[in-house]
């Protein structure tokens, strides 16, 4: 697993419960469900999961969108060097201070223009040592919560080196949270079951795809 510690973008807008990252390069946009972190103030690192990516148009795109022959360089430029940033919406899951993980909202949101980083494998492992953050995902309105939870758990599973026990524990946490919503639970379980990882290597999808 590569540890890419250069920032993937900067905070565009933020609130206590979520923030939006502006990215320039589509290749570096965090995948759906993956963990990112940003420093809020001294020593507080806010952790979140990317749950939505917005690629907005700009006046130039509007102008040429109808053109039957768009030069390759122009299309490439739209991916790698955009006028308007790609917006990545991140749900705040908790924070870490002095190496201690807290799975509840941080005291302050990150300031705009703060650098946002992808989390390393060891940070993911440390953060997912507890699972009460899954509650935040499941019960946040107006996000694709079940899909986000499944994607996030799959991501954590891989970054933890394929730890089946983790999948079971995450499933159990979901089962406890959804004790009255068995259908939702079943749908989630079918999206995180270990057999999904056996046949294909999900590595490329994780690095590239924007769900």
């Amino acid at each position: 697993m590569t540890h890419d510690l250069s920032p993937l973008g900067r905070v565009l807008r933020s609130s206590t419960t979520e923030f939006v990252v502006g990215c320039q390069d589509l290749a570096r946009v965090p995948t759906f469900g993956s963990f990112v972190k940003v420093q809020a103030h001294d020593g507080v690192w806010v952790y979140g999961a990317a749950y939505n990516v917005l690629i907005d148009d700009d006046p130039f795109v509007r102008q040429i969108i109808g053109n039957p022959h768009i030069p390759r360089e122009v299309a490439l430029d739209q991916k790698e060097n955009r006028q308007t940033p790609i917006e990545v919406e991140v749900l705040v899951l908790g924070y870490a201070r002095d190496g201690l993980v807290h799975q509840y909202l941080p005291p302050q949101p990150p300031a705009t223009l703060s650098d946002v980083y992808p989390c390393t494998a060891s940070e993911v492992t440390a953060f997912t040592g507890q699972l009460s953050y899954l509650r935040t995902i499941l019960f946040t309105p107006q996000i694709p919560a079940d899909e986000l939870l499944a994607a996030n758990v799959r991501e954590a599973y891989l970054r933890r080196g394929g730890d089946r026990e983790f999948l079971v524990e995450a499933g159990r946490e979901a089962a406890r949270l959804l004790k009255d919503e068995y259908d939702r639970l079943k749908a989630i379980l079918s999206r995180i079951r270990p057999s999904l990882f056996r046949s294909s290597t999900p590595e490329p999808a994780r690095r590239r795809g924007v769900t």
Binding site: L167, V168, G171, R172, A174, A175, R176, K179, D180, Y182, D183, L185, K186, L189, R193, P194, S195
Partner: protein
């Protein structure tokens, strides 16, 4: 902290109904067995308890309506302990202060329940040792050394489960179980323990001639030793059937004969069912007693039809009933061990042996059916009963320790024949079961149909050692007089058919399932028995140690 396996968490319950605990996801329902010994760590107390039921639960009906597909281990693993979970019913039995204090009372009966969410642990060896060896149930003062006897081991552990033999012999006891479950072997074990520890002197009415000398084990085909062989002349073997003894090559210490003069109406009344006698017939025997005293039976059996009619006319008896009585009692006169007139000398000899602390086993040989068994056991026991009454009354006057009668335990098989609701009111055994505790005589009843025994008698039984029983009524009967016993019912039907038993009552601090101790060479040695050549070697060794080569 000890690393006992945590199996669950108390979630609800009451003292009367028992507790319910939710199992840990890691604890498999399938390894929870009814009868398992568990310990609940309350805030201030430990509760020593038994699992009495195991159940499956689900937080949501939906899960049950639409279970995960059969092969989906992942979903099963996730749901286990969350949406679906196992629960166990737990009966707390004893409690112990977690923090020993000055007024620490040791183990005592439960008076309360542990608080919500107290953890439940599988008992470990220390727990067993604590409960079944250091018997500290409060309220019992004891002098001298306690007499503990290992009856077996828990089902899943290698520690001894011990009974307090002094408590055991203080009350009447029962050994129950279906045929072939090991009742006779259990009786041999208990009798050995009592003989070895001198907790009581025994009189055994040995219906199938299996306690004195060798008998064959059904399972191994080997012969096992009898008590006469294990304990030598401390145990005397009497027989009703010297011929059977001769055929088996055993030398009885005495032969019992019964005189018609020793048979009383009470004995005949007890045989009412066996001989198919009407109650009018039994009543008319009193008319014979009025005229002939202790020769009544002899006279009756000698009457011809005419004298019988004359007697009926003169005494006002019903002639038909008289005739029927004679016809049916004729069988007694024909028994090999019955003589016209016998003085009390053999029975008195038996009584004297008992008084001197020697154990007596009376073999029935060929007379191994209930008729003869009931008759003889009743006659002999009546004599002993009279004697113990007198002795106890003397002791109560003098209060001298040397006048204290020796504790006596009488073993009877097919106990329901003596102690069924009708017989229990008429026979000496009923009296002993109900009140003779005060007179230092108790019973060890062995039976495969405890439901046939009078409930009043059952509730007087102190300690019950029960092997497998299937019949609902029999199981019910075992728990007669046991507080909260209903909860333990499932335990009995879950026992293995051989060499497993549930022990409950006065001689154990709490009910416990055991793998019964094996009656074999190792046991003989534990009882102090040595083969001849071994004895010689030991004597030789002792000699050389004393005097040198």
């Amino acid at each position: 902290m000890r690393d006992r396996q945590r199996i669950g968490t108390v979630i609800q319950g009451s003292l009367l109904e028992g507790l319910t605990a939710k199992l840990e996801p890691s604890a498999s329902v399938e390894s929870m067995r009814v009868g398992n010994f568990v310990v609940i760590e309350g805030q201030k107390k430990q509760f020593f308890s038994l699992i009495t039921d195991v159940a499956l639960g689900a937080t949501n009906e939906q899960v049950l309506l639409d279970p995960p597909a059969g092969a989906d281990d992942f979903a099963n693993a996730v749901l286990a302990g969350t949406s679906t979970f196992g629960t166990v019913k737990i009966a707390p039995m004893l409690m112990l202060d977690a923090e020993p204090s000055l007024e620490d009372q040791g183990l005592r009966p439960v008076k309360t329940v542990p608080s919500h969410f107290s953890p439940v642990y599988e008992a470990d060896e220390d727990d067993f040792l604590r409960v079944f060896q250091e018997d500290t149930v409060s309220g019992v003062e004891r002098v001298g050394k306690k007499k503990f006897f290992e009856i077996g081991k828990p089902l899943n552990m290698e520690v001894p489960v011990c009974m307090d033999l002094e408590r055991f012999v203080e009350r009447s006891n029962g050994i129950f179980g279906k045929s072939g479950t090991g009742k006779s072997f259990l009786a041999r074990l208990m009798l050995s323990g009592i003989i070895k520890s001198r907790a009581a002197v025994n009189l055994v009415f040995d219906m199938h001639s299996e306690y004195g000398w060798e008998t064959q084990s059904e399972e191994t085909g080997h012969f096992v030793k009898g008590l006469r062989q294990l304990f030598g002349p401390q145990v005397l073997s009497y027989t009703l059937d010297p011929e059977s003894a001769r055929n088996r090559n055993v030398q009885p210490d005495g032969v019992v004969v019964i005189g018609l003069n020793q048979i009383q109406v009470e004995d005949v009344a007890l045989l009412q069912e066996e001989l198919n006698l009407t109650s009018t017939a039994v009543e008319s025997s009193y008319l014979l007693v009025d005229r002939y005293r202790d020769r009544w039976l002899q006279q009756l059996l000698n009457m011809d039809a005419e004298t019988l009619r004359d007697f009926a006319r003169e005494s006002g008896a019903h002639p038909e009933a008289m005739a029927a009585l004679k016809r049916k009692l004729d069988m007694i006169g024909r028994l090999g061990f019955v003589k016209e007139h016998v003085d009390d000398s053999v029975i008195d000899e038996i009584v004297r042996s008992i008084e001197s602390g020697r154990h007596v086993i009376l073999e029935f040989g060929q007379y191994n059916n209930p008729r003869e068994y009931i008759l003889v056991a009743n006659i002999i026991t009546r004599r002993i009963h009279d004697l113990y009454r007198q002795k106890t009354e003397r002791y109560q006057q003098t209060k001298k320790p040397e006048d204290r009668p020796r504790q006596l335990m009488i073993t009877i098989e097919e106990a329901h024949k003596f102690l069924n609701p009708v017989a229990a009111r008429q026979t000496i055994f009923g009296t002993i079961a109900r009140e003779m505790r005060k007179y230092f005589v108790t019973l060890l009843v062995i039976d495969q149909r405890p439901s046939g025994i009078d409930t009043e008698v059952l509730s007087q039984i102190g300690t019950k050692i029960t092997a497998l029983l299937n019949d609902e009524k029999d199981i019910e009967a075992v728990f007669t007089g046991v507080g909260g016993g209903g909860r333990l019912k499932a335990l009995l039907a879950a026992l293995d058919p051989r060499q497993q038993a549930l022990v409950l009552g006065y001689a154990v601090p709490m009910p416990v399932e055991v793998r019964t101790r094996t009656y074999d060479e190792a046991f003989y040695r534990a009882m102090g028995h040595r083969e001849r050549d071994e004895q010689r070697r030991e004597a030789e060794k002792a000699r050389t140690e004393l005097f040198g080569e």
